[in-house]
């Protein structure tokens, strides 16, 4: 690995700590210090291969857009320990990945696999889904309001509404939604004892990797059956596209197809859930912003965008340098591993005015919460539309909102957001 500025050991431990992301303040403090003192430095936390922590907005964008120079798939695309990496490679015939979705692919496969479903997620197609998504939003708003004057906005609304939307797009029946939610939370909440498969706080490597691979196996078993069904009875849903899709005239590689379902069935709702929950939390803490939005609902699009920046549900992805490179004047060697710290980029003082303030009318608001470059989030247009519709249906009905307890975030350094947001509300 190239030599370069070293990150303070305690900060290096903080930026990989699931608890620090759950607590919020420690992670914001750590990244604030890094942006100031070591914006592109080498972190060497115990048990991990050393990696570069990329913390500034411009540098994250630079790495993200140079997809040939910085690969997703050469090493693990998500931060992992040396021991876990070794175990995964032993299980997966040398591959560092438990799944092979768009996230783990590089070109030419990435482009070919992305194009398979891209048209489904383009603005002109999801526009056709708006009436049905609005019905779903109304259903969950009605359920929330029927609860009286309090609810847990994360559990009662934010977890369930985007789940219903993506499951309908995939063609998964409503009766299977609890299973899909549970498996998703096991996958992304692997470090959180309230979410993971074992219910334990400190799992050893074998148990941790084992639990995730069991979750993946359960997903694969489920989507094998969906594949068989859609090959026999194709429908107008994304599962039929995956089941019957071809790349270069051949059916999709089975493992890649299963991984495609898994990424759609998990990332397709979890990040929107986290963002919606955090957005409502933010409004509860900022009555002036709630009032501003209520007085001018034309701000709903910028409220959604600010929520996406504010939450930054995906905290990082890793990239591997395919050749010697230079980023912000720093030499990066071929094979170096880089952590793209999206939350830090979205709080970069050199890019955002008052980045630690939640502003429903923030403009401009160019952020990196969806990534950038070829791997930019496939579902970003759907996510924005879902949230816009939810707020259009809910906010006009509310007179006041406030927290009715202490919100809690999931413990995760990868995909992280609120798991509980107790709120009290009054109606107009």
């Amino acid at each position: 690995m190239t030599t370069g500025p070293k990150i303070d050991a305690s900060i290096a431990e903080t930026i990989i700590s699931p608890k620090a992301y759950a607590q919020g303040t420690p992670i914001d403090d750590a990244f604030r210090e890094l942006r100031k003192s070591t914006p592109l430095g080498i972190a060497e936390p115990k048990g991990y291969e050393p990696f570069w922590a990329v913390t500034r907005f411009d540098d994250i964008q630079f790495v993200e857009r140079n997809n040939e120079l910085f690969h997703n798939g050469d090493k693990s695309a998500v931060l992992t320990t040396i021991d876990a990496d070794k175990m995964v490679r032993e299980m997966m015939g040398g591959s560092p990945h438990l799944v092979r979705s768009l996230v783990q692919m590089d070109n030419p496969d990435h482009m070919a696999y992305r194009r398979l479903t891209q048209s489904w997620f383009l603005p002109q197609n999801i526009k056709n889904l708006e009436p049905r998504i609005r019905e779903i939003a109304r259903e969950f708003v009605d359920l929330m309001l029927a609860k009286g004057d309090t609810c847990d906005f994360a559990r009662d609304v934010a977890f369930l509404y985007p789940l219903r939307v993506i499951m309908e797009i995939l063609g998964v029946p409503q009766s299977d939604e609890p299973k899909m939610l549970k498996l998703t939370q096991e996958l992304f909440g692997a470090a959180d004892p309230e979410m993971n498969r074992s219910g334990k706080a400190d799992q050893d490597v074998e148990a941790g990797v084992g639990a995730i691979s069991e979750t993946v196996a359960e997903f694969i078993e489920y989507f094998n059956a969906i594949t068989e069904d859609r090959r026999a009875n194709p429908r107008d849903d994304v599962s039929s596209v995956i089941a019957n899709g071809q790349i270069n005239g051949q059916p999709l590689d089975h493992f890649a197809a299963m991984s495609y379902y898994i990424i759609a069935a998990t990332a397709g709702h979890d990040t929107t859930s986290h963002t919606s929950a955090a957005a409502f939390w933010a409004l509860c803490e900022a009555p002036d912003q709630f009032a501003k939005l209520k007085n001018d609902m034309s701000l709903v699009d910028s409220y959604v965008e600010e929520s996406i920046r504010w939450t930054t549900a995906v905290k990082h992805f890793m990239r591997t340098a395919t050749d010697d490179a230079e980023v912000a004047g720093q030499k990066i060697a071929k094979g170096d591993w880089l952590m793209l710290c999206y939350q830090s980029g979205n709080r970069d003082e050199t890019h955002f005015d008052e980045p630690f303030k939640f502003k429903v009318d923030r403009s401009p608001n160019k952020h990196v919460a969806f990534g950038y470059g070829a791997h930019v989030c496939l579902g970003q247009h759907l996510a924005r539309m879902e949230m816009r519709i939810l707020w259009e249906e809910l906010l006009p009905k509310l007179k006041s909102i406030e927290l009715a307890g202490t919100p809690k975030r999931m413990e995760s350094a990868f995909v992280c957001g609120p798991k509980s947001v107790p709120v009290r509300f009054t109606l107009n």
Binding site: E64, R65, F121, P123, K366, Y372, A374
Partner: protein, 59 residues
């Protein structure tokens, strides 16, 4: 469609839509800015794809 009618262009990578009629004020492109008047080095605001990798689309 008349030759002078406003047109829409879409990014091949991420699906961002540039509508000449609406422009994109956040990008400094006023409503009515024609695609041909956008500099060649302009990039998709959502993913950085170059202007040359946009397609004209009818919505």
């Amino acid at each position: 469609m008349s030759e002078n009618a406003f047109k829409t262009w879409q990014c091949r990578t991420c699906g961002y839509i540039y509508d000449e009629e609406a422009g994109d004020p956040m990008e400094g492109l006023a409503p009515g800015t024609r695609w041909a008047d956008i500099p060649d080095d302009w990039e998709c605001p959502l993913c950085g794809t170059p202007k040359s990798d946009f397609d004209m689309v009818e919505l």
